[in-house]
């Protein structure tokens, strides 16, 4: 093949598309999209297990990965049902300013593929223990790649739309809610208090909402319901921690 410099090569693209299949599944604390950190690493207490699926569920497929501190997960936004649009309204812009879909990391995008870097804690056979995830429980993973610091960590890169991590909001606890959280942490063997604080510190409510103190918000982490309100606009107070009605299997 000797393409000319003007060769558009568009005719080599399959019009019917390519089929992709999951290579792994993510088991994470996030039962719903609300309150998931908008980028990984913002919630180091968000631990997860990435379980390789057949025919990739063999330790050979991750051989050598223990020498790598971070991995990329390419995954499907499997609970996004609406069609991709050319412009989106990212939550961090307050939901009232739109940008091109390819200028954002929005979940509503052509092909519905997400990309997150997470910390690799441990390789256990065909399971990877990771932390700092921002994935919904049950997310299909379509690729796992090692982070390559000299290529992926770009010094001096600039992004005017998302120049820095969102400012954290203050999180307080009702004494009884904190006691409940400690109990659930013991039962689950998970960092319930840390994860609750890290998720809520990013203020999950839409940026344009000005909540009155009487309004209750809630989210499910693992099989726990977390309820909070805003005593002041710049403070979250956790009111209640309770087990979901549906028992764990």
């Amino acid at each position: 093949m000797t393409p000319s410099i003007n060769d558009t090569a568009t005719d080599t693209v399959s019009a019917t598309g390519t089929t992709i299949v999951p290579v792994a599944i993510a088991h994470t604390p996030f039962a719903e999209k609300f309150a998931i950190p908008r980028q990984p690493a913002l919630a180091p207490a968000a631990t997860a297990v990435i379980e390789l699926l057949p025919p990739f569920d063999h330790p050979d497929a991750v051989n050598g990965l223990e020498g790598v501190s971070h991995i990329w997960l390419l995954f499907q936004f499997h609970q996004v049902k609406t069609e991709a649009k050319l412009k989106v309204r990212p939550p961090r812009l307050g939901g009232n300013r739109s940008v091109g879909v390819f200028a954002s990391r929005s979940t509503h995008r052509p092909n519905g593929i997400g990309q997150s870097v997470v910390k690799l804690e441990k390789v256990e056979g065909h399971r990877l223990r990771v932390s700092g995830v921002d994935l919904l429980n049950g997310t299909p993973i379509i690729d796992i790649k090692p982070y390559v610091p000299y290529a992926d960590a770009i010094a001096g890169a600039r992004n005017d739309i998302a120049p820095q991590a969102p400012a954290a909001i203050r999180v307080e606890w009702e004494a009884e809610a904190r006691h409940q959280a400690e109990e659930e942490a013991r039962r689950l063997g998970e960092a319930v208090i840390d994860l609750t604080e890290q998720c809520l510190a990013q203020d999950p409510k839409p940026a344009y909402q000005n909540p009155d103190a009487g309004r209750r918000y809630g989210v499910q982490l693992w099989d726990i319901n977390v309820t909070w309100h805003y005593p002041q606009p710049d403070t979250i107070r956790v009111l209640n921690i309770s087990r979901c009605d549906i028992p764990a299997e």
Copy 2:
């Protein structure tokens, strides 16, 4: 939906897979895989045009991207025909040591998706001018995402398999070859000398080969054939630059 913490969620994964389609096509200098830099940014002279395809070929889709210095390209390794294996032999390990496919950025991988960060030079309507690419000409792009420095640039990340960029090899020119390269650079309006030097400095031949000085190597960049040899094992000497037989359209 209230999944239990033991919910494997594997039953929500489609066994038939998902169809993905190209959103753009890459026009790059690389007519063949040989001599393409093993990671982007190793060859800043490798400029390319990313052309959005219908129905995404509208300036709206990249609105705001001019405030971003680097972008991720998710793409298909469209010329890789062999089946993915659990273990691969990355060129940088000399081709004789194997690691798990998910511990490498190998082109031979399940779902055949690559991920490269490139410098965004200019947004021109539905075309993006970029530099530091490592993509074959005609590569189908399946997503474009802005680089988010606070999330993507991980300070202190570690990768023992690929700890640093490959050491560069010395590149010299035959006087006549350099003169030819200057001519072709004027004709194409491209940095022919810089790109040739940057690609060859990474020593494209397989790491296990010990070339004798009589052996000739060649690669096509744009519509130019570049020929070189190794006068010593640690030096590349460019012998000839010539136009491909097939004329540009």
